[in-house]
Point group: C2
Chain length 215, copies 2
């Protein structure tokens, strides 16, 4: 029935290059830190989620804090990179140029935060304003987005505010898992629909897919 010993035989854990393991750990840590917060997450939870042992996680990143910092830095980098990519695309000039750009940037954002790890890691970063390192990263990241919208996208202040504000509302409604209670309270879906409008199907498709994956 099993090999060599009579014990559970905990599969001999495939050897994988450190660089690749690193990515696995970061992906797992993003989810775990996102859901439980820096203090609420344990290195053991991250290790299990990544399919390795706790000491390996610690050795790979030195400390739990370093791991968290890297998770946050990655999330912010991906956010900035996502916007930069959209802004680098060619755009035709016309009446609806701005509307189109907003739609593309919005889609890129929703695409990013469909990854619940990214979404929650970003929000954890926003809630770490008191932490010198994470707080500074969060402020710098937010200001970089602001400058991109102002200088590269050429948006006027009200457009910028509206765009950023919508994004923060997206964050919140997804973080509190509003879609979870669609069948208990129809207002939940109404609020989601009024918030995400056309993007709702995109969002719901992603959360449904994720739920199916876990089942």
């Amino acid at each position: 029935m099993n090999e060599t010993s009579g014990i559970a035989a905990a599969q001999p854990t495939e050897r994988i290059p450190a660089a690749e393991r690193r990515e696995q750990i970061l992906a797992a840590a993003s989810v775990v830190f996102g859901e439980r917060g820096y203090s609420g997450a344990t290195t053991d939870q991250v290790a299990r989620a990544a399919g390795i042992s706790q000491p390996y996680v610690v050795r790979m990143f030195g400390t739990k804090e370093n791991l968290f910092l890297e998770v946050v830095a990655r999330a912010l980098e991906r956010l900035v990179a996502g916007f930069r990519q959209v802004l680098a695309e060619p755009r035709e000039h016309g009446d609806d140029e701005r509307e189109l750009l907003i739609a593309r940037l919005g889609a890129a954002y929703v695409d990013l935060i469909e990854d619940r790890g990214i979404l929650l890691s970003l929000m954890q970063a926003f809630l770490s304003g008191h932490n010198p390192v994470v707080g500074a990263k969060a402020r710098a990241g937010f200001l970089e987005i602001y400058r991109m919208l102002r200088d590269e996208a050429g948006f006027p202040p009200d457009t910028i505010r509206g765009f950023l504000a919508d994004g923060m509302l997206f964050n919140t409604l997804l973080a509190i898992r509003l879609p979870d209670i669609f069948d208990e309270d129809p207002d939940a879906e109404e609020l989601m629909r009024c918030t995400f409008r056309g993007k709702l199907d995109l969002v719901l498709g992603a959360t449904a897919a994720e739920a199916a994956k876990h089942a």
Copy 2:
């Protein structure tokens, strides 16, 4: 120089009615939980902030978790109550009726989140979507606000979305302490100004007052 003993003399800690102590602890806990999160905060930190001993905090609320739940529930209640109060005020009918109501509700919200404990406790609640109890409270609270704006204020969907979105952006910019770097990066103030517009002085006055209080 000091009384009785040669030791620091830790003042005999005034006896205060339990009900009043309870409020002190909740106020302290709001700040501590807000800054450090549920897991990051210790009952000892709350106790020190409230000026009492750690066992007393635990005995008053049974468990750390109960204390956190009550802090979150209070924050959500104050939010709902604040809006309900504005909506109960008499309003004259006119072209700018809606604008005026938005302004009043917005002012009430900014007034509320000037209390950093409330602001951060609310955000912690939003980030606790995975926790059955806190998550349910957060969802219910958000939906109640939505219904108030839809049914009592009579706002159309886009107005509701805009209002809620602005609120979430307020939250974020205050949480990351953007005003802290006004003199390092002028864009920080620009972003705050474009977000809060008229309300900025209100916000800055409050944070400045709070900073002075701590100094």
